[in-house]
Each structure stands twice: as C-alpha cells, then as structure tokens.
Subunit: 343 residues, 2 copies
C-alpha cells in the first residue's frame, strides 16, 4: 500500500493503526434518539415546526430559528457567520440542524447537552434573536392566542405555555430533520451500486488516512456517547499548519470561550460530515469556501499531512455521497399576530 | 332605516345612493388572472416558489421575498414597517402577497403594473434586499448551479436565467397564493349557514355605510380595471379627522412620493380586505393596531362619520369572514450554495 498521506514517520505509524483498519461503516438510523423526558408525538412535532419557523419571538420579529437553520437548504444559512437582529453578525458559522438530533451535545463547542437546551440559547443571544430573556419570549408566544390549542394538544390542558415546553416541541421537530438513505447509507446497507467507483475508493481512503478516527459512526460525528457528553477534539491539532493562518483557524479558542478552562482551549465538538454539499462555507468561522479545501485543511491541521490531489478528489466524492435525501415538508400555518406585538 | 353613520347631511345624501343599494357580492375566483405573456405552468410555479423563499439574492443572503411576505401567516411581516438588510427599516408596512394576484396594480401606490414588475423592485431597494442591480442579483442565481435545470424546465434550454424570467416565475408562484373559499365566499355562493347572523348583519352594514363604494369586487379592492391601472382613492379623504394626527396618516403622500405629480398627493391603491385577521397592524404605516380601530379610522377619514360601537363589532365580524382558507404548501428545496457566494 503506498502511503496516501505524507506524514511525519512517527505519526504515520501511530495513525496507521487506526487508519488502516476499516471502521464499522454504519448507516444512519431511520429515527433519531429522543429523551425519556420528551417523547415525540405528532402534536409536539407540529407545534415545534410552527415555533421553528416563527420570527415573532425575536426582538424585531424578523429572525426565526429557520433564518439561520434553513431547512429548505442545508440547515444552515449559507454565510460565513450568521446575521441576527439589527443586522448584527455572530461569531461563528451556523451549524446545520440536519441530523443534529444524532449529536451527543449541541453547539460548535458542545456546551448544550440536548436539543432542548440548545433551543433556548439563540432566543436570548443579543446578536441572534435578541430577546431580553425567555420570559419575554414566552410573553410574545402567549399573546399569540392561536398557539394555545397547539400547546394544549402537545402538552395537555392548563398552563403549558412555558419555555421548557416550547423547547421540547422544537426539539421534537428537529428530531424529524434527519437524512437517512443517502447513497452512502444505501451502500453500507448492501446496495453495491449506490456508490460510484470513485466514491467507494474515497470511502476507503477516508478511513485509511485517518479521517474516520474522529469522523466515525453513522453521523460521522464520533462514537456513541451519553447525552450531554460532547465528542471533543483539538482543532487545529497541528497549529504549525500553514492553513491555520490562511483561514484564521486558531483565533477562536472553541470550548475555552465558554468554559474558560485551559483544558478546553481549541477543543471543538466533532461536526457531522453529512450534507456538506449544502453547508459551505466550512469550519467554525466559515473561512474555507470549498470542500476540496476543507479536506486539505483537515489533512494538514489534524493529520499533519498533505494528500495527493487525486485522493482529495476521491475523498470529496465520498463526502458527496453523504448527501440527503431531505424529507418533504409541509409548511406550517402560523396563528395571527396582535397588531401591537412588534414595534 | 336609521342612519348608521353620523355624517354631514350633504355627504350622507350623496353616499347613501352608493351605500344603500346592495353591491354585487362576488366570490373570489378559484384561479387568479395571468398575463398572456406569462402563462402559468407547474415548472414556473415550482421555480418561483424556490426563488420566493431564497434569501441568497439579497445583499447579505438573509432576506428573501418570504421574509416580509410570510405566506406561513398573513403574507406580510407582522411589523408596522418592514426590516430589510443590515437591520434597515422600510418606509411602509409590507402589503400582503395573499390575493395580490387579483390586484390591477402592485405596491401601496400602484406604481408597478404587474406582479412581474413588482417582483423586481425589492431586490434592488437598498433598505430591502439591497442588491446593486438586477444583474448582480442574477449573477448570484447563476452561480447557484442547481437552479439551471429549473430555469430550463420552466423557460426552455439556452440562456434563460434572466431577471425577467425570474420575475415571471415568482409571479406565477404568487398567482397560486389565493384564498377562495372563505366563509364569505361560501355564503355568497349559496351556503346560508356560512356566515353568523352577526357577520351577515356586518356584511350589509358594510355596504350600507359606504365601505363597498371602494372596497368592492371579489377581492374587496375595487372594480375590475385593466392590468396596470390601479384603483386609486384619496386617503385621508377627510384630513380633519382626529385620527389623521393620532395615527400619522397624512405624512406619507402615497402615490405622490413616486410620481411627484400633485394629482397623486395622498392617492393610494385601495387594498384588499381579505385576511385582515392575519395582517395587523394596519394601513400603509402600520400605526393602527386593531381591526375595530381600522374600521373606526376608515369611517372617519373616508366617510366623515362615526359608527356606533355595535356596528363596528358587526363590520369587524364580517371582515373576519374574509379569512382564508390558505392552501397547503410543500416547502421548496433550494439548491446548494457555493462557499464564496456570500461575504
């Protein structure tokens, strides 16, 4: 076997153990895991979809979850970093909501344990949806009378219009935003024709050079871990990579920014590789514009190597096989707005 | 008949002629009229829906047609005035896109002859979608490779990715955004149970006091006029109404602002009254928060009268009967974004 990655000899030895053995290639399950405390029901999913698309509980009434997590496309917002209320730019690129239900922790740095916890973050982030607090957001929802029957249907009668229930409904909806059945999935489930020869070659290269050390499991986001335990890796592992400066990859210190713990410097949750065709530009700061560049960056910053161009092409072809299919979705109907809700 | 509106005697006399006779109550057709130059096809509608929901041809990549014309709700944006790119506020309240296909001219002041013309306006408005020009917008669309087959399907092979074709597709989609079959429509088509007694009373009052002099026809937006001829009325007709100051109704001079012709001072296209339940706050500047207030304002500024409260309630009940039904809609799938499309 000719070495595919020009690595420091010592590294090659250690990596080749993990890299050369084929990983367990797993298909994405047809259902996402859910919390015992939030079993999915059609009523919750319906309400969650309404809330996900409702801009009215952002300060200006213009920013819904769906603005930065556009499920009509890649579940992100196509931008390097997102833009929230008052035209303010966020600090990181919006991660895709597609298949987020399979992650053991949420946000780029894994600081939210669950989809339910995550859903409450952007609402009160001053540069995202900009509400003063969750109480103010729920006051908005409560004033939209038409939401009451939907909360009642999802959570029973009584005072069920709470931020916790809104977050539960949104999480239940997000658990439907999954894409099993990609070409890759069909291939590993036995359809040998589902991948092109190039894609199949790229798949084995992906393992051979070491990508699958971290990007493993059905969602290519790491091993199965308990809910709330993010699968974290250091990025960049090799800070001397010339790409670190080119793409400004080390300025944001990842999980350290929220924990202020030295152990968390440059630690990031390993993101899914599904649907990358739809989620350019790449990385936490959105500086890497193309999938071939993203592969080159990873080989350099994480594996300290350089891939030959033919291998970049093959690995990209494999990554493209992780695309869709996206479920057909009906648009939600949102209840009417009181005329004095927004200023 | 007791006079429902306390009017100046001379006015009452003139108005009562139009007001007292029942107008022709017409149901909304099941299909919107289309231009001979733009016959609707399923392929155009599909492409138009994609474009309508695509934020990528706004400067920041964050503002789609659907942001200010939210068809998951009332076809407007729930706000007094809209917010476009960079958090900039527009000068007027977004008019609803629902049933706009039945209007003889577009925008509050009727300055666009057709839906096709209208569609090109907000794209290059610096406070709405903010593109330098339509060429720049189409450059964005052209760079999204996945659009090519959809344009080819809608407009044939060859170089069909033009702003004119994009506008035609959006217009074709908008012609599907219609709401025949409301309680009112069912009533005038023969279902005597479709309106409540209060709504039926409100309907006749609506004619009796003179609302239907202007708000006539199946869309309650005026008589059938040739395409491009707006049905314009002066608003406020009675500038001494105390509501003019309360709601700042005369500052914006309507059609005059675009034509600079004295004859157009305070002239406005008569808007539809369908789906008002969903389109608060009301009027061109979004200052009137409730439907009862909107009725009181109109009685005062347009008919120089004051309705008794019981009549306001009945007319509001009638207006509520002009709501929906909104067609079920599948979300469009948008093609992937090149990573360097947006900065």
């Amino acid at each position: 076997m000719k070495p595919r990655l020009a690595l420091l000899a010592v590294l090659w030895t250690s990596l080749s153990v993990a890299g050369a053995s084929e990983p367990a290639w797993l298909a994405l399950p047809g259902q996402a895991p859910e919390l015992a405390s939030n079993p999915s029901t059609p009523a919750k999913v319906e309400l969650g979809k309404m809330l996900f698309f409702d801009p009215r509980f952002s300060e200006t009434g213009t920013v819904a979850c769906s603005n930065c997590h556009n499920v009509m496309e890649g579940g992100d917002d196509h931008r390097p970093v997102s833009i929230g209320v008052h035209g303010q730019k966020g600090g990181r690129s919006a991660p895709t909501v597609w298949n987020a239900a399979f992650l053991s922790a949420q946000f780029w740095d894994g600081r939210a344990a669950t989809l339910e916890d995550q859903a409450k973050g952007p609402v009160v982030n001053p540069v995202e949806m900009g509400m003063k607090d969750l109480g103010a957001a729920m006051d908005r929802i409560r004033r939209i009378e038409g939401y009451r029957p939907y909360f009642a249907k999802a959570f029973g009668p009584g005072e069920t219009l709470s931020a916790d229930n809104a977050a539960k409904a949104i999480a239940a909806y997000e658990r439907t935003l999954i894409t099993p059945g990609s070409a890759y999935d069909r291939y590993v489930l036995g359809d040998a024709t589902a991948l092109t020869a190039r894609q199949a070659r790229g798949m084995h290269l992906f393992a051979e050079v070491g990508c699958s050390s971290c990007h493993q499991g059905p969602n290519f986001s790491g091993p199965a871990l308990p809910v709330g335990t993010p699968f974290l890796m250091k990025f960049p592992t090799y800070p001397a990579s010339p790409y670190v400066a080119t793409f400004d990859l080390a300025k944001d210190q990842g999980r350290f920014e929220s924990t202020r713990s030295d152990a968390d410097r440059h630690m990031w949750r390993v993101p899914t590789l599904r649907n990358l065709v739809y989620t350019a530009p790449y990385f936490h700061n959105g500086t890497v514009k193309t999938l071939p560049d993203a592969v080159r960056v990873m080989a350099s910053t994480q594996l300290n190597g350089t891939l030959v161009e033919a291998d970049v092409v093959d690995i990209v072809a494999f990554l493209e096989s992780l695309t869709g299919p996206f479920p057909d979705q009906q648009m939600p109907r949102l209840p009417p707005t009181p005329g004095d809700l927004l200023q």
